[in-house]
């Protein structure tokens, strides 16, 4: 198989790896770097479970090749908590409001919502729903996810007022 050497920053650490050119970014993260927090729910870009942040923008890691991420910075769910293990306010709000059940869609929800709250610190309920309209969850009916997100936004605004 055709292989390339790539350098990718993942959650603040730089990795130089040899990778098969057809390996998706998701498979590279999960099986080569063993960062299995990023999940694959459909492998055709609909469910959103594999969403990561690529240079800060949400991207479907199942629809990208690892080689396309060469030279870029990736954030996965493993990178959301602080270095000393304190949960991101979104993660904490998900725990407080039962914003997850099986937890399989959760990594994609969290990364998508981190982007939302960064760009829009005070979203309306409709804006939260729109932001995750490309992330499927079969367990929660989304309500607890929306509640958690609005609460996280409030907490983040209080902690870091603009």
């Amino acid at each position: 198989m055709d292989q390339r050497r790539i350098t990718i920053g993942v959650n603040g650490t730089s990795f130089s790896e040899t990778v098969s050119t057809r390996t998706t970014l998701a498979d590279f993260l999960r099986h080569q770097l063993r960062l299995t927090g990023t999940h694959l729910g459909c492998e055709h870009g609909v469910c959103g479970a594999c969403t990561v942040l690529l240079d800060g923008r949400s991207a479907r890691s199942c629809l990208m090749l690892a080689v396309q991420a060469d030279g870029h910075q990736i954030t996965t769910v493993e990178g959301l908590e602080s270095k000393d293990g304190v949960l991101h306010p979104l993660q904490q709000a998900f725990a407080d409001h039962h914003g997850l059940q099986c937890g399989f869609c959760t990594p994609g929800m969290l990364t998508t919502l981190v982007e939302l709250l960064r760009d829009n610190p005070d979203p309306s309920e409709a804006e939260v729903r729109m932001a995750i309209s490309g992330n499927l969850c079969r367990c929660t009916g989304y309500q607890s996810i929306v509640t958690a997100t609005l609460d996280a936004a409030k907490r983040m605004r209080t902690e870091h007022p603009a």
């Binding site: 098969s20 927090g37 493993e78 499927l136």
Partner: protein
Amino acid sequence: MTTKTFGKRTRRLEDPDLLRGKARFVDDIHVDGMLHAAFVRSPHAHAKIVSLDTANALAMPGVHAVLTGEDLRAHALSDRLAVALPDRVYKQQRNRPILVDDETVYVGEAIAMVIADDPYVAEDAVSRVDIEFEVLPAISDCRQALSPGALNVHSDASDNLIAEFTSGYGDVNSAFAGAAHVFGESYWQHRGCAHAMECRGCLAAVDPLDHTLTLWSSTQTPLMGARLLAEMLGREEASVRVLAPDVGGGFGPKLVFYPEEAAVAIAAIVLNKPVKWIEDRREHFVSTTQERDQYWEAEIAVDDGGKILGVRGSLLHDHGAYTARGLTVPQGAVSALTLAYVVPAYRMDVKVVLTNKVPVTPVRGAGQPQGIFVMERLLDLAARTLKIDRADIRRRNLVPADAMPFKKGFVTRGGIPIVLDSGDYPACQADAVEKAGWADFPARQQAARAEGQYIGIGMANYVEGTGRGPFEQVSVKLASSGLIHVATGAAAMGQGTKTMLAQIVAEQLGGVMERVVVTTGDSAKIAMGFGGFNSRQTVMAGSSAHLAALKVRQKILQVASHLLEADAADLDIDGENVFVVGAAGMKISLRQVAKAMIGSAGFTLPGNLAPGIEATENVVIDAMTYANGCAVVEVAVDLATAAVTVTRVVFVHDGGKIINPSIVDGQIIGAIAHGIGNALYEWMGYGDDGQPLTTNLADYLLMTSTEMPPISLSHRESPTPLNPLGVKGVGESGVMPIPAAVASAVEDALSPFGVRITQVPIRPNDLAALLDKAGVVV
């Protein structure tokens, strides 16, 4: 009564790992040297396999083996999965082959497995397995399958009827003969796939030291899987371990043991290497079991006051090509139909029909929403014709609270009498109707119509059988670390099962859930059990956990009474200590209590008590406990696009005592979403040739966040007398009334045009046709 943990909105024990990306789903497990499997699947709905040549695939670099049915047969006592629940009414036995090698009967059926270094290579090699097929005509529609001269789903069969039964009680013919009014309709109901966000998958490995076969599988029933695998391989049970790691949703289909699980296990034995297989979503559409089509003809007999005299009819149920579970879905449908109401006479004639499609097994609700849909549609039909308010006709017929326990005239699939145990159904409906502003809706509807908006309101009641027995084993042990170990055959797939059990156990043992370490779904950690299905685990495992915790508590207090030289009746447990009530300084830690009962060589145990502090319980409860609820749904129908928007759901639910309100809310709201999907969006399509038409999540529509309406959810708590906690199952309840209530609301919205809704899903194309037929011009 104040409680420590029972009834509290606690956080879930499962969440810290899930939120950090540190959970362990089956594809997250890596074993050094593991190989990867991919399956060669039938592209035809019905075909003879003329020849199968693996040479080209085997020649590919990185391919270790290509296994066929013939190869597996040499290693298993049976080449078919005999998993059907027992029933006398089968006319044909259709157990699935592990890998089929003569005649394939649905698109997606596994024919061979490729095992390679890498999953990409394995998938490449799948396309290099050369198979010559002789394509045969396929049966896609279960109605055609029974027509005279129909071709057969299986070539060796004489027809396509796999089972036939009648469910009912009372003198139906007399009830109808003497009735003032009889109303009847035909219904088509379709439920699609479960679509847990994690597809199926498994990993098998043989331990090189003790030869134990371990199968990690994304399953709802690991203990059943372990038993089946041991039988199939002719191994002693202790040498086969099946466990479910974190499972990314179940919703029914993962309760079935699958050919791929057997094949992967055998491959690991044959190759003496760990083998992993992870299903992709496309495979999930064509190989994971589904629910599908039901065609009903139903009639209701009522008197002039709208009182029900009888219900009768027939049901044609699409079974798919094999029996992968049993007759659960049609049985659930016809059982659920009358439950909420006093129906003096009932008869439903059921035909279960083979088709060249993926086998049908339960999806969340297991047929019950379909039975409820038929009953609720019939009541709406009667109400409209007799000009009785839809809420009123239901109120007149609901089983009254003072009739509890109310014995229905028939039995469950296991022959156990159906007895509604508790609940106040009329009060529950009254609550929902009140909260929804039912009485005020006509005025709102008129105002909207004046603006050209077509809004409607609908309702449905449901009663649901939960807590399927006979038992679920739970052991509770105070470990020498002072932590409390709980193990159970119950299986977690996202419902917060560990949290639920920890709340029950912690209630008795100090009130700190974090001190309770729960292991679910691991055949090596518990001797017997079933797993997660039929809204059963809180009822069955919860009851066993409660009794085991009480026994452990009693033993802890006995031991501590010797160690503290105090009367056991004066002791209580708080946090990690046992203390003398009223003298909090007099205490001993649970760790010390545990250590005392491990014993020391040559020394007597405190109080000469039996060693260890543990209890294992198998609380046996045969009768099901019946949960109930009422949903009121509002919709808006766009006449131009025939799109239906659900704008509000009011749901009043009674699932007995609530252990964790947040978990219960989450279960119900999630299931309401599933119900709306079933009512409007989800359709697993097949062409006449049996080719699946919807094999990705862009064609098959799941509910997204923007379709979810505001939900007003409230609870009544009618404890059941059938178990010590007073709990009923909740996992499926939310889905039960929603398709019926949505249909009722759409019909109400379109009442000026006389449009009748007799199907779900109500797809825009279907509704557009109905609007055209009704002469609606936009």
